[in-house]
Symmetry: C2
Subunit: 106 residues, 2 copies
C-alpha cells in the first residue's frame, strides 16, 4: 500500500521559498525511494480554512517500509533540518493511500 508524506508550510518572513523548494526537489530526485513528488502554492480559495499556510508538499512511497527508510535517509534528515529552520509553522501528515477514484488523464 502506497504511503504519502504530506507537509503544509508557512515560511518565515524573509525566507526564500524558491531556494528551499529547489533543495527539496533535489532531495526528492536524489532519493530513489521517493516515487512521486509534487508541490504547490495555495490558490487562496479558502482563506479562513487554510489557516495561513502557503505551500503544500506531497511525497509518495511504495510502502510503509520505503517511507520509513526515506525518513531515516541522511539526505532527508539534512534537508529536514534546513526546512524546519525556515518555517514559521508546519503540519506533517503521513498516511497509507486509499485510492477511491483513479486519475484518468495522468
Amino acid at each position: 500500500m502506497a504511503v504519502k508524506h504530506f507537509v503544509l508550510i508557512r515560511f518565515k518572513e524573509g525566507t526564500s521559498a524558491e531556494e528551499i523548494i529547489k533543495k527539496m526537489e533535489e532531495m526528492a530526485l536524489e532519493i530513489d525511494k521517493v516515487k512521486s513528488f509534487e508541490w504547490g502554492q495555495d490558490l487562496e480559495s479558502e482563506e479562513m480554512l487554510r489557516q495561513g499556510f502557503t505551500h503544500a508538499f506531497s511525497l509518495t512511497f511504495e510502502s510503509k517500509e520505503e517511507f520509513v527508510a526515506f525518513s531515516q535517509h541522511p539526505t532527508h534528515l539534512a534537508f529536514a533540518e534546513i526546512l524546519l529552520s525556515a518555517v514559521e509553522k508546519a503540519i506533517v501528515f503521513d498516511f497509507p493511500v486509499v485510492q477511491v477514484k483513479p486519475l484518468i488523464n495522468a
Copy 2:
C-alpha cells in the same frame, strides 16, 4: 494545470468517520469533475507535527475552472455542510500541482 483540494480533519468524538467517508466517496464518484479521490488515516509517525489531525482527503481536478465548478456543485455544498458539522477541526488547502517526480508504478 491540475488542482488539488486537500483537507485535513479531526473528527468530533462520537462521530462515525466511516459514515462520513462513505458519503465523501459517493460524492467524489458522482461528480464528474473529480478526476481523482484518495484518502487516508494517519500513520502516527509524526505525533507532534500532525497536530491531532487523523484523516486526510485529496481530490484532483484537471484545471482551476473544474475545481471552481466542483466547489459550487450542489452535491459538494450539501456534503460540505455534513462534513463541517462532524469535525472538531479542519484545514483546507487548494493548490495547482507542480509535478516534479512522476509516479512510475501508478
